[in-house]
């Protein structure tokens, strides 16, 4: 029964997506993106099981590496902004608009 895992993956993806839209702290927003990526991983592994090939499991590894690289870049940017503004809130970054 792989359906349950797919439903779980969809739920995690949705939670992550809603989190990105409603949370205000850049770090938390970023963690929600990571949650979305991990939901994708769960879907990949489940489909790999369903189709009986290994492709999905290999892809999951690639996604982990990419997510790790993204953490490096993302935290660098967020920490720089925090040092400048003493705040990591995405609402405070409001100089660019309209």
């Amino acid at each position: 029964m792989t359906t349950h895992y797919l439903v779980l993956s969809a739920l995690l993806f949705a939670i992550g997506g809603v989190g990105v839209l409603v949370r205000r702290n850049a770090i938390v927003v970023f963690m929600c993106v990571e949650l979305m990526l991990n939901a994708c991983n769960l879907a990949f592994v489940t489909f790999a099981r369903q189709h009986g090939n290994l492709e999905g499991q290999i892809i999951a590894f690639f996604v982990m590496i990419v997510a790790a690289a993204e953490v490096v870049v993302g935290l660098a940017i967020i920490v720089t902004i925090f040092r400048t503004r003493r705040s990591a809130s995405v609402d405070d970054a409001n100089l660019l608009k309209y």
């Binding site: 992550g16 979305m36 990949f44 489940t46 993302g74 940017i77 720089t80 400048t84 608009k97």
Partner: protein, 519 residues
């Protein structure tokens, strides 16, 4: 399980020769990282710059050579397609990247010490010591390598990795402006958060299409469209989320919100690179996914892209009129151009029709890319004491104080507007003609109307420059360095030549598009 262990492992074949242009760029990027680690600070720039330019020139020469040889294959076990459109896109990206690097090479665009807080003593110290981040060169090389891989990727995993390789360095580069650092850092954060969000959508779409087809190979997905039944939910949701990720990258409405912020906040040379290179790469990838993998599903996705194209054109043209910042205005103009290009994507049909549309898109992208890089190069030269003179009112009377510069900028604006004898005219003509041939007449009508609206705000800037009195405390015109002067000259020359003798390049785009995407 025993079959897994017993099966002999055969090594994959990789056509290094065909992938050489990309491998050179990535190789040079890694050498650049080593240079950062092992050479003294004062030597780095004089080593990095030649490495960057030479590798790009070499990669361009190899791309041309492959075009002459007529290479057309799915290299690396079908994972990377080296075909006519790929080679044209590679050539275009490399040319525009070489031009952008000349602009990036100018000293005073990038921050002296990225880790120093703006306005702090550390920053003053770094500035007075002449600090510079030469890491920008390898970062640019990685971004360009990603841009080349993205449209050539023939399976969705490679495409996802390429998307990230292209985007991650750009997120960092966006935050490295020397002046107005708060804006620059904010642009980097917005671009990063929204970019990561959209790539998660891209990945979820990939996962669902993998569930549908049992493979992420574009050709396998195309085959599965006719053989797999009863999985429509996976297919449609997958295609839609994948589309969201791709439309975000080209900046189509309603996913355009990042573009003005990022274009305005980033260092202008990086904006030039993004506005030209990323757009070309993302369009190549979008076309490959929708035409190769989802080609037989066009009855379902064409109506959606119709709506997106109309919305993008209207949003871009209308909001550009209200802008007061020159870089923001150019960003909205870029959104409008994305809409014009989308009209040709919608016009799919028979193979000859597709080839027609594709060649129009390729020509348009190249022409638009040169005009964009040139326009942003001019923007870097008009300066206030605190940095570039962004506000449009500061540009008043520029034509009286510096007729040459204002004249060249006017040329780029006319090319954006699509006036005859500039490159933009033939680009727009080719794209709209393909759309009409594909039966999207209503779309072209919207396109022509929004083009007229867009012409209004381009001409408004020209009027402002030539027919207003200069402000008494007007901006200074920086004496251009060799690099900037070369960029402006090259872009202006390309804009005129493509507008007066477009035939060779049109033929080249036609030849490249003739074979369509390899399957």
């Amino acid at each position: 399980m025993s079959t897994l262990t017993a099966a002999p492992i055969t090594a994959p074949t990789i056509e290094y020769g065909e992938l050489a242009p990309m491998l050179i760029i990535f190789g040079a990027a890694m050498i650049g990282v080593l240079v950062e680690a092992f050479t003294p600070r004062y030597l780095r720039k004089s080593i990095q710059m030649p490495i960057t330019v030479l590798s790009m020139v070499g990669a361009f020469a190899l791309t041309v050579w492959q075009g002459v040889r007529g290479v057309r294959s799915a290299a690396a076990m079908g994972a990377i397609a080296v075909d006519g459109p790929s080679l044209f896109i590679w050539g275009a990206i490399l040319l525009l990247a070489i031009v952008s690097v000349l602009l990036i090479n100018d000293d005073d665009h990038f921050v002296a010490e990225a880790a120093a807080v703006p306005g702090s003593a550390e920053e003053d110290q770094a500035l007075s010591q002449g600090g510079a981040h030469t890491e920008i060169y390898p970062l640019v090389l990685f971004a360009v390598g990603g841009m080349m891989l993205f449209p050539a990727a023939n399976d969705l995993l490679i495409m996802f990795v390429a998307l990230e390789v292209m985007s991650l360095p750009l997120y960092l580069l966006c935050g490295l402006a020397r002046r107005r650092r708060l804006l620059s850092q904010e642009a980097a954060m917005k671009y990063f958060l929204l970019g990561a969000f959209s790539s998660a959508f891209f990945l979820y779409g990939t996962a669902l299409l993998y569930g549908f087809a049992g493979s992420v190979d574009l050709k396998a997905i195309a085959t599965a469209l006719s053989t797999v039944g009863g999985q429509d939910a996976l297919l449609f949701i997958g295609a839609a989320t994948l589309g969201v990720g791709l439309l975000f990258k080209i900046g189509a409405a309603p996913f355009q919100a990042w573009k003005p912020d990022v274009y305005q906040g980033s260092p202008t040379p990086i904006t030039a690179l993004m506005a030209s290179g990323t757009l070309i790469a993302a369009f190549g990838a979008l076309l490959r996914v929708f035409w190769v993998a989802l080609g037989d599903l066009d009855a379902e996705w064409t109506p959606v892209l119709w709506g997106v194209a109309i919305l993008t054109m209207v949003v871009g043209a209308v909001l550009a009129i209200t802008q007061t910042d020159i870089k923001r205005m150019l960003a909205y103009s870029s959104i409008a151009h994305t809409g014009f290009l989308l009209t040709a994507v919608v016009a799919t049909g028979k193979e000859s029709q597709n080839a027609n549309a594709l060649s129009g898109i390729l020509f348009y992208l190249l022409a638009y890319g040169f005009a964009t890089v040139g326009a942003f190069a001019v923007v870097t030269m008009v300066r206030d004491p605190g940095g570039e003179a962004g506000h449009l009112s500061r540009w008043a009377g520029l034509g009286k104080r510096s007729p040459l510069l204002a004249g060249i900028f006017a040329l780029f604006l006319l090319a954006f507007a699509g006036i005859p004898l500039t490159s933009g005219f033939f680009g727009k003509y080719a794209v709209f003609a393909a759309a009409v041939a594909g039966g999207a007449v209503q779309l072209v009508i919207v396109g022509v109307v929004t083009s007229a609206m867009a012409a209004f705000f381009y001409v408004r800037v020209i009027v402002l420059m030539f027919f207003s009195d200069p402000a008494p405390e007007g901006p200074t015109i920086a004496v251009p360095s060799m690099g900037t002067a070369a960029v402006v000259t090259l872009s202006a020359a390309a804009t005129v030549v493509l507008g007066v003798f477009p035939q060779p390049v049109l033929d080249l785009a036609h030849t490249a598009a003739q074979s369509l995407f390899v399957r």
